[in-house]
């Protein structure tokens, strides 16, 4: 029983981290209809920024999330304004190609700079654990990461519904033409959305770097996680990525515990197939966004 509790808790914590990785991806896809294949590269960039800050001034990686978010927001804003915006009206294949190329550029740039080394941001507490009855362990690093993930998602959901900027993001996502007629600067709103997504990815990167290892080669894995979590959770709802991430974490943990560990990926994707068959718009998504993907 304590083994089941351990697996469940670990799966939920891992899911929280995945949710933080995926929430920006889901936001950009939902609002801009852009499947950002460079999202994983943003996560790794964030990890390196936090690692550099930690090395230079010894700032705790969870505190380093704030400057990391600022750097990644600026990067995301500039990339959207200068690059992605050029093809934002084009069919989804063109944006896929562009972000794929961007991913290659970022990943190979990081390999040039950091030589593909595996890195980790050292802390004295991240691998220490809170011990619950039955020797069930709750690692502090993962706990903090998961709490931050949930808090950020809730904050984002609140901001989108309650602030002027959030509402303009929502409006632009629903109907760009109408939003423009209402005086919303769509290019700016898109760039802010992309910047926010990059900032969230960067913060996720800082958390990943603390609880685990990272290298430029991991970018693809994080893009894939984000994709699965976004599809599972559904688009058009800020909570989608959170539900998707948590479900993915749980399924991987339970699957790995009940079946041979090597089947975790197969189990995770089987769940994606089942969810899509039963509820094509995802767990929390809206059919409008799911049907909007134009080819």
């Amino acid at each position: 029983m304590s083994q089941f509790a351990q697996v469940t808790i670990y799966g939920l914590l891992q899911g929280g981290l995945l949710a933080l990785v995926a929430v920006g991806f889901s936001l950009v896809w939902g609002v801009m209809n852009v499947v950002n294949l460079a999202h994983g590269a943003f996560v790794i960039t964030g990890a390196y920024v936090a690692w550099e800050i930690n090395r230079a001034v010894g700032l705790d990686p969870f505190l380093a999330m704030i400057p990391t978010a600022v750097v990644l927001f600026a990067l995301g804003y500039v990339i959207q304004r200068g690059l992605v915006n050029l093809v934002v009206n084009a069919p989804i294949f063109i944006t896929l190609l562009l972000t794929f190329g961007l991913n290659l550029l970022l990943v190979n740039g990081m390999i040039l700079r950091y030589k593909a080394n595996y890195q980790s941001i050292p802390t004295s507490y991240a691998t220490q654990s809170l011990v619950l009855p039955g020797d069930v362990r709750v690692p502090y690093g993962r706990l903090i990461a998961a709490v931050i993930a949930v808090a950020l998602t809730l904050a984002l959901a609140w901001a989108v519904r309650r602030t002027r900027l959030g509402l303009s993001i929502l409006a632009t996502g629903m109907d760009r033409g109408a939003a423009r007629l209402m005086g919303i600067r769509a290019a700016h709103v898109y760039a802010v959305t992309f910047g926010l997504a990059a900032a969230m990815a960067g913060m996720a990167g800082a958390a990943v770097g603390t609880v685990s290892t990272f290298s430029p080669a991991d970018a693809g894995r994080f893009t894939l996680f984000s994709f699965v979590a976004a599809v599972l959770g559904g688009l058009g709802n800020m909570y989608g990525a959170l539900y998707g991430g948590l479900l993915l974490g749980l399924v991987e943990a339970w699957g790995g515990n009940l079946l041979p560990n090597t089947l975790v990926n197969a189990v995770a994707f089987a769940v994606v197939v089942i969810v899509l068959a039963v509820r094509p718009q995802g767990l929390a998504g809206r059919a409008f966004y799911a049907s909007r993907v134009e080819v």
Partner: protein, 406 residues
Amino acid sequence: MRLKLAVIVALALTVAGCGSKGEQTTNNTPTGTLTIGASLSSTGSLAREGILTKEGYDVCVNVVNGKGGVQVGNQKMKLEIKYQDDTSKSDLAGQLMDQFNDGGLKLILGPYGSGATAAAAASVERNGQVMVDSSGADDAIFTKGYKRTFAVLSPATLYATSMVEAINELATPKPTSIAFISADDGFSKTATTAAVARAQALGFTVIPPEYVPNGTTDVSSALTKIKPANPDVIIGSAHLAEGVAIVKQSTELGVKPKGFAETVAPPTPDFVQALSKSAEGVLGSTQWTIKTKGTDKWFGSASDYAKTFAGQFNGREVEYHGAEATAACLALVLAVEKAGSTDPTKVRDTLAGLNEQSFFGPIKFNDKGQNLTKTMGVIQIQNGKPVSVWPKDAAEAPMKWPGNAA
């Protein structure tokens, strides 16, 4: 006057044209440059190890050319390696062999990893090329009857087995139970199967191996399953990402063996960097240490080689990925010199009969192309550095046990 000038210009252009045409017939024909093809992972999940391998090849090129080049018959040839990126994909490594072959490159140095080496070996055999393998250790590569692939390194079966032997011989109080966590790639599984058999033969209680996806950074499910058995030792047959995760997540989940041992990860600098203090005491298997016995005319002894490497890479310490790559290049250079030719079949025949001492230990191949004359070593991370602890006669320091400081 104008006509004269035009004739001179035309003549000059003709001569230049002839010259450039002559230079195009390079590759392995004796024109002064001995070009070898190597497909390596510069990008993708194995980029780190790929780059370490490339460094070893580059040291070889530098040293050989620094000493005047390769003597082929009556001619000195400059050594050059043409690299291609296989993006860490095995099938691409196989295709690159064909591309090298189309370009006339018949002499090949191996890619990083058993998967890529297996794919490359099949192409090399078909194309009539010859390859010296620097890091493909999986025994399965050498059961297919290939005649043109030679591995300088010890086979996969010895990787985890050597650590079982070291623990059996040196750990006091002697542990009684061992758990294995293995990546699911061919190399890691071969290493695990052999070590499980050896551990059982030596009387250890072996907890059934847990296999995890190759390259994963989450081994929590394997650790949760192992935890109730409370093993004395956890042996990880895995690469860097999984290797770091085993130690890190064991701390998170309260799995506390008396020691960790891992096949590939501990000797690489990243292991200590990523784990800092938790890396202390972890055992690792290594193809080579600076205590390895043997010398050769190009690189001298193992410690001479370490100095050469440090000289080329800003004082950085070499670890075994670099050394095995240099050794593969050395074997090829020795074979070309001995054959007095760059003809792939002659070089292959010479490699098959090669029996040389080197900074990497003895280089001698059996009829399958494996180098069984050299032994594996075991290192332990002590004060943040890998030091050789087994075999005893090549040890830099005694093994510390229990090895797990946490």
